[in-house]
């Protein structure tokens, strides 16, 4: 008797848990759906604004959809969508000789975004290579000062750009003053960005190298593969996902950086897209559709990169977050 009731009770409990679990699962899903919609609401609104006309973004009271007519509040056939905002960003000028039939006169697209792409790719490449080298050294070698150096780099990870900005600005000015021919805004900002996004990447890289079993390398060494061959043929292919993650994380960090690009670069023509955005905001205070369109133009590439490579981002962030 005793045995029977005891075996019965857990079974009932389990049945109770599954139904309760299912009900909770549904509620949790519902809650997450609401939270996700709330989180995406500002972005959706920006997309909406970017396709409105000037007369629809400057109405009092504001309308959500530009679809009202004198007779009806919402008429899908009467929607006044337009790409006016995007045109203000691109500023196409008819030019029969050029490839597209028009020339892009908007500074965002012909100046600031190319600058950002150059800075982001260069910095991400340098950070990836240097972080890979350092991560390998920290992961595979025991040498005097190793722990101290690792702690120092971890501490530097937390140092923000802001407090060093004054000194970096003065350093740039001094170099410009001392060696006018040698100084280059582009080179300087790439080195500054490298210095700021490298420390975290070193830690992430070390974590990725740590995850590769040493036995694999030792086996390769015993089989007659030289140290360099081991590195290039065995280790490298295994850390490609890790290095890709570092590249992407640095790329996005540079793309999104504002204050250093704004203050350290002296020539306006060499400033990045985030400065372009700030500048554009100042010029188009009431043209909300143009400001929204500029936001979409700058942010969309990053959203696309993220959606395609999200596993890479999560891997790098968890690796970096647990250590740092």
């Amino acid at each position: 008797m005793q045995v029977a009731t005891e075996s019965q009770a857990p079974a009932d409990l389990r049945a109770l848990l599954t139904t309760r679990g299912q009900r909770e699962g549904l509620l949790a899903n519902l809650a997450l759906l609401v939270i996700t919609l709330f989180a995406l609401l500002p972005i959706a609104t920006t997309v909406l604004i970017s396709f409105k006309r000037e007369e629809d973004v400057t109405r009092k009271p504001p309308v959500v959809f530009p679809c009202d007519t004198p007779t009806s509040k919402f008429d899908l056939t009467a929607c006044r969508w337009s790409i006016e905002g995007y045109e203000r960003v691109v500023l196409p000028m008819p030019s029969p000789g050029s490839l597209l039939g028009f020339e892009i006169k908007g500074r965002m697209l012909n100046t600031y975004l190319p600058n950002t792409i150059l800075y982001a790719i260069s910095t991400a490449l340098i950070v990836m290579v240097l972080a890979g080298m350092s991560g390998y050294a920290f992961s595979r070698y025991r040498f005097p000062g190793r722990d101290a150096m690792m702690i120092a780099i971890l501490a530097i990870t937390g140092v923000p750009l802001l407090t060093n900005l004054l000194a970096l600005y003065q350093m740039g000015a001094s170099i410009r003053h001392l060696a006018e021919g040698l100084y280059n805004d582009r080179v300087y900002i790439i080195i500054v960005y490298t210095g700021f996004f490298l420390p975290l990447s070193v830690w992430i890289a070390k974590g990725f190298f740590d995850a590769i079993p040493r036995e694999l390398e030792e086996a390769a060494l015993i089989d007659g593969c030289g140290p360099l061959g081991t590195l290039t043929r065995i280790v490298m292919p295994l850390v490609v996902p890790g290095l890709t993650a570092i590249f992407l994380l640095s790329f996005v960090s540079v793309w999104n950086e504002f204050i250093a690009g704004y203050l350290l670069i002296t020539k306006n023509d060499l400033k990045p897209a985030m400065f372009g955005m700030y500048d554009f905001l100042g010029q188009n205070i009431i043209n909300a559709q143009a400001v929204a369109a500029a936001c979409i133009v700058i942010a969309l590439p990053m959203i696309v990169v993220f959606l395609f490579a999200r596993q890479s981002f999560f891997r790098a962030m968890v690796e970096g977050a647990i250590k740092g």
Binding site: I35, A155, L161, L166, V192, L281, C295, M302
Partner: protein, 323 residues
């Protein structure tokens, strides 16, 4: 760097050693050299340079040593106290809101339903946006008269007496002395916008910590009769507390030093109601062009930052040792 100097030269006197094959290997140092050089130039040297700047003043004749005068002027100024108050209010609101919401969302996501991956991806999109962009996006929503939320917020029936225009409303009269509490509508809105952007990262951090808690532990305590609140209070929160503290420090660091959103969302205004310390640093340095005084402020901020970093390092190391 110092290790390079103190270590025995490779191939030098290795014959004296008992294990000749364990002689000094320069390879790791060569691998680290570029990183160390970059970090010395961009991170370490500027810190000392800021120290030097903070005790100087720019005169027409050049830089003059003025001792602690910059610090005295800075500490005497009303601006510093005011901005520190704004920063404090911002940090408290932002950190509390982000940690609470992040914890709740992480708990919801931790159920490992088939849709979790989709939710994580979608919830993460705000994180990928630059702070400048996030600020502009939130600004567009509440533009005076024209923003989509302005229709509701500026309705006098809902927000007496004259409706609420977030970007232009004055700060309410402070309750205690000059401490800027209650905060201005613009400050509350700035906190919401900053939370929106920081939430995904904190959620992921807490989710990663939650996933290290074994299911058996939760399951067995449930069978032992613990209710959900007791499980959260006595099992989950103590186990992820170190991660929460790390998250709190990372939020505080980001909050003290983040400035892009202030630029694009409020520009420090209306009045000085969203003038935080990071914005004050910019305005002393690049608007007033007083680099000495700005360097003094940068040092104060750096001291706060280093304390936070040291705290984080301590917690993570204690955590690693206990595992």
């Amino acid at each position: 760097m110092t290790q390079l100097a103190t270590a025995p030269p490779s191939g030098g006197r290795h014959t004296k050693r008992t294990k000749p094959h364990r002689r000094f290997d320069p390879l790791p140092f060569l691998l680290l050299l570029p990183t160390i050089l970059v970090l010395l130039a961009i991170q370490v040297y500027p810190m000392f340079y800021t120290l030097v700047l903070s005790v100087q003043e720019r005169e027409p004749s050049g830089w003059q040593f003025v001792g602690l005068k910059n610090f005295e002027i800075l500490l005497d100024s009303r601006q510093l106290g005011e901005s520190a108050g704004h920063t404090l209010i911002f940090l408290i609101g932002y950190a509390t809101l982000t940690l609470t919401l992040g914890f709740i969302i992480a708990l919801l996501l931790n159920r490992k339903s088939s849709l979790s991956g989709v939710y994580i991806t979608l919830l993460f999109i705000p994180w990928i946006l630059a702070d400048i962009i996030a600020g502009v996006v939130f600004r567009l929503l509440v533009l005076p008269d024209y923003g989509l939320f302005s229709g509701v917020l500026q309705n006098p029936a809902l927000f007496p007496p004259r409706g609420l225009s977030i970007l232009t409303a004055d700060a309410p009269r402070p309750w205690i002395g000059e401490f800027p509490f209650p905060p201005s509508p613009a400050m509350v809105y700035l906190i919401l916008a900053a939370t929106w952007r920081a939430l995904p990262f904190i959620t992921l951090l807490l989710l990663a910590a939650l996933q290290t808690i074994s299911n058996e532990l939760i399951e067995s305590s449930r069978i032992d009769g613990a209710n959900r609140w007791q499980i959260a209070r006595h099992i989950i929160i103590p186990l992820i507390l170190p991660t929460m503290v790390v998250a709190l420090f990372s939020l505080t660091l980001g909050g003290i030093n983040g400035v892009g959103m202030v630029f694009s969302l409020t520009g420090g205004g209306p009045g000085t109601s969203t003038h935080v310390l990071s914005y004050l640093l910019y305005s002393i340095g690049w608007v007033s062009l007083d680099f000495g005084r700005a360097a003094a402020l940068a040092l104060i901020l750096a001291a706060i930052n280093l304390t936070l970093i040291a705290g984080t390092l301590r917690i993570t190391r204690v955590q690693q040792r206990s595992i």
